[in-house]
Symmetry: C2
Subunit: 455 residues, 2 copies
């Protein structure tokens, strides 16, 4: 009957720097390659669609990168976000483990995504961009960027996968409310879109197609840049503010984590909470276990191959050194849309390769069961993506009970589930099933790859 | 490009008492009457469905009523809520007015409703209730009570107006997720429901029918009580925590309001933000203008009559001294479902009668226009109910500009609009129109009343 403890910081304690893990990684990530020449790409290859400051951040070796005052000001709308001790969940699990969660669902867009959207909008604005393009699936990232662009007076043009555009109108209206233009993709606005529509006028679209459209529009339009919500190094960098805040909040509670957990799609959520703690591993020899949790239906970290692959389905982006299931891999339509991505960002892939982080794959039903337990004990109904983290937390807490060890577990609660109630409905109605991937389903896209291997 | 300033309190500053305005009202409210005898009701008339502590609060003359520690503990999940200075909205309006808003949308249920739901669940639990019933329309109140019951291990049985149950499933799933049972009303569970279904098996239901079912179930079931989300004095009392916090936060900013504004449905939102400031009017002769904002389509405060009327459509509740349009008044299906109620609570009606508060009626289109302005400047997409407050704020800020006066305006932002995006969609699509009520539409329910008049 008690509430879980909330640990707050004052606004003056919002971090003044992002933490750049590239400064501390034992082995640097491998360079992205130009898709044509297969040679490492340079800044000039990206200048058509990104501002120079973000290109610099992409490869910077500086440990701390200052957060501009203007960005910190916007962060103050919702940051510092609260850290909670999940006392009621602990009680339900009857575990000796202490469970903390950082809650990023308090942002206006409802997830951690604005942390990088605001920074990206700022740097673009500073370098003269008038408009940003991006792609979005279910709409989490698109709404974050719409919000950020509205704060900086930038135009925002969002290519939304057509089937989501038709079936999930509410995120679209949210983007419209913040002033963004939302276009069902494939569209007639771009060559990429027109080409698809010629072949299939009823194409439902895909994230890959939407990326192609957004990139093409940015590359061919003066004053328009492109923005991405995960995978890239600068995106992960901006999200480190989550873990840096959590570190201060845990210190207020006199605590430090043994285990840090986050759901894994492209890496922004996981990097956000874990990099600040990996830093202690690298710098002080601590041994914080950082666990990335992916859906069992899209197991790139646990069952994928570490090799070069494209970031998009169409194969237009630079080749990235990543754990991948192949860029043509089509995950099942699970409800955690934000985790249905074929590959992992370069930094995280390198960390996993070097066994500096762990990965876990969790089936969907276990995730929803965990999410409902969490709602009933902690009161927050979370996004399906976030339930993956909770499921892993429960696994670790149960393990701590069996072993009789008092572990401190921290996880990132990346967003609320207010736009995902139909997923909970399907779960309650027994409409969800777990399906074990066949070898063919899992590996056919990988086997079809002809991109460069890594020894 | 800057963010609006957020003013926070620490958890230790959560008020320790609710403010009971009945201690300070120049004229006390008139007593509710028994529907049969037309005599003032006593505690025993309510004991079948309410715990004694809430019945006491209903008529208490104590100025301060202590908030139980257990309730304050649960409040800490989301309280103190932030107060924002709406600097960007001020800039857009180019007004000399300072605009502040208290944001109650940060609660797990997404509105101010948990403030009383938690308290009611607590008092019921303490007096041995095992289960609570209530009615809900669109679902704001039902989800708040579901959340509160889950925190205290109480069963929760919610009669949801059938048309909302069918058309707006997401709030229902939210209640299910917290463990509540949600029943489409009219149902076969109660005599009231069965009677309606006999007459019309396809009845879409109404809030009045749902109230009848929930009250009947509580009155006839051992261990089951009934809970209401607005109108009653104890509900308004619990909401005063909003204004008491806002008062402290404004003091931190060195400020005090000239004008306090809130949307008006049954009174809980308005009472929540305004009573703490009316106290200064009553005790110190200050002159804070408190403005209740109702939809032009349901103008009980500005065009209703002050007389005794029933709280429900069916006429089963005690007779309440209220500004009313008649308990059979059927408002247009506007999107601010929480404001579609025929009458005002007894305390607020008395205050309005005594000209101690003001009322304003605002048409729907002006409200949505205000809501979109707010989302673009302040970043928060609000519930349609909340846009009524914003519209009035804009009116007052524009007036301040014309008059060249620096007013301080405070309003209560009662909830987010994540479950209301279809309303914004209808607005963007031009599907909403403002309709001026004819004399017949406005007054036929009032003219049909045979309840006691008040001189």
């Amino acid at each position: 009957m008690s509430a879980s403890k909330k640990i707050l910081l004052s606004e003056s304690e919002i971090p003044r720097n992002y933490y750049n893990i590239q400064a501390d990684m034992p082995n640097p990530m491998l360079p992205p390659l130009h898709p044509g020449t297969k040679q490492p790409i340079g800044p000039q290859d990206l200048a058509a669609i990104f501002p120079m400051e973000l290109i610099k951040q992409e490869v910077s070796q500086e440990r701390w990168i200052e957060i501009p005052d203007e960005v910190r000001e916007i962060y103050k709308m919702y940051r510092p976000t609260p850290l909670y001790r999940a006392a009621n969940l602990e009680k339900l699990l009857d575990t000796p483990a202490k469970i903390y969660y950082k809650y990023e669902g308090v942002s206006p867009a409802g997830s951690h995504k604005p942390n990088t959207a605001i920074a990206q909008a700022y740097y673009n604005k500073m370098e003269g961009a008038k408009r940003l393009t991006t792609e979005t699936g279910a709409g989490q990232w698109g709404s974050a960027l719409s919000f950020a662009c509205s704060k900086f007076g930038l135009g925002c043009e969002i290519y939304m996968v057509k089937i989501s555009y038709d079936q999930k109108p509410y995120r679209k209206i949210m983007m419209n409310t913040w002033g963004a233009e939302v276009i069902a993709s494939p569209s007639t606005r771009t060559n990429s879109g027109r080409k698809i529509l010629e072949q299939d006028p009823n194409s439902p679209g895909s994230l890959g197609i939407a990326i192609s459209e957004a990139v093409e529009k940015a590359a061919t339009t003066e004053g328009t840049n492109y923005s991405l919500g995960s995978v890239l190094n600068h995106v992960l960098l901006h999200q480190t503010i989550i873990g840096l805040e959590a570190e201060k909040q845990l210190a207020l509670a006199g605590d430090f984590p043994d285990i840090v957990i986050a759901p894994f799609g492209g890496g922004s959520n996981f990097a956000g909470i874990s990099f600040a703690f990996l830093r202690h591993n690298f710098q002080e020899g601590k041994n914080v276990r950082c666990i990335a949790v992916e859906p069992a239906s899209c197991p790139k970290l646990t069952k994928g191959e570490f090799r070069y692959d494209f970031g998009d389905t169409a194969g237009l982006t630079p080749l990235i050194p990543m754990y991948t299931l192949g860029h043509t891999f089509v995950p099942e339509p699970i409800h955690a849309g934000g985790l249905r991505y074929h590959g992992a960002g370069a930094i995280i892939s390198q960390l996993l390769k070097d066994k500096l982080i762990e990965a876990s794959a969790v089936p969907q039903l276990e995730c929803f069961e965990a999410g409902v337990k969490f709602a009933k004990t902690e009161g927050i109904i979370t996004a399906p993506e976030a339930t993956h983290g909770i499921a892993q937390v429960i696994r670790e807490a149960q393990k701590a009970k069996v072993e009789g060890k008092q572990k401190t577990i921290l996880f990132n609660l990346c967003g609320h589930g207010y736009f995902d109630m139909s997923a909970y409905q399907a779960y309650f109605n027994g409409e969800l099933v777990d399906h074990e991937l066949t070898h063919e389903e899992l590996y056919s896209a990988l086997e079809a790859l002809d991109t460069p291997k890594i020894n």
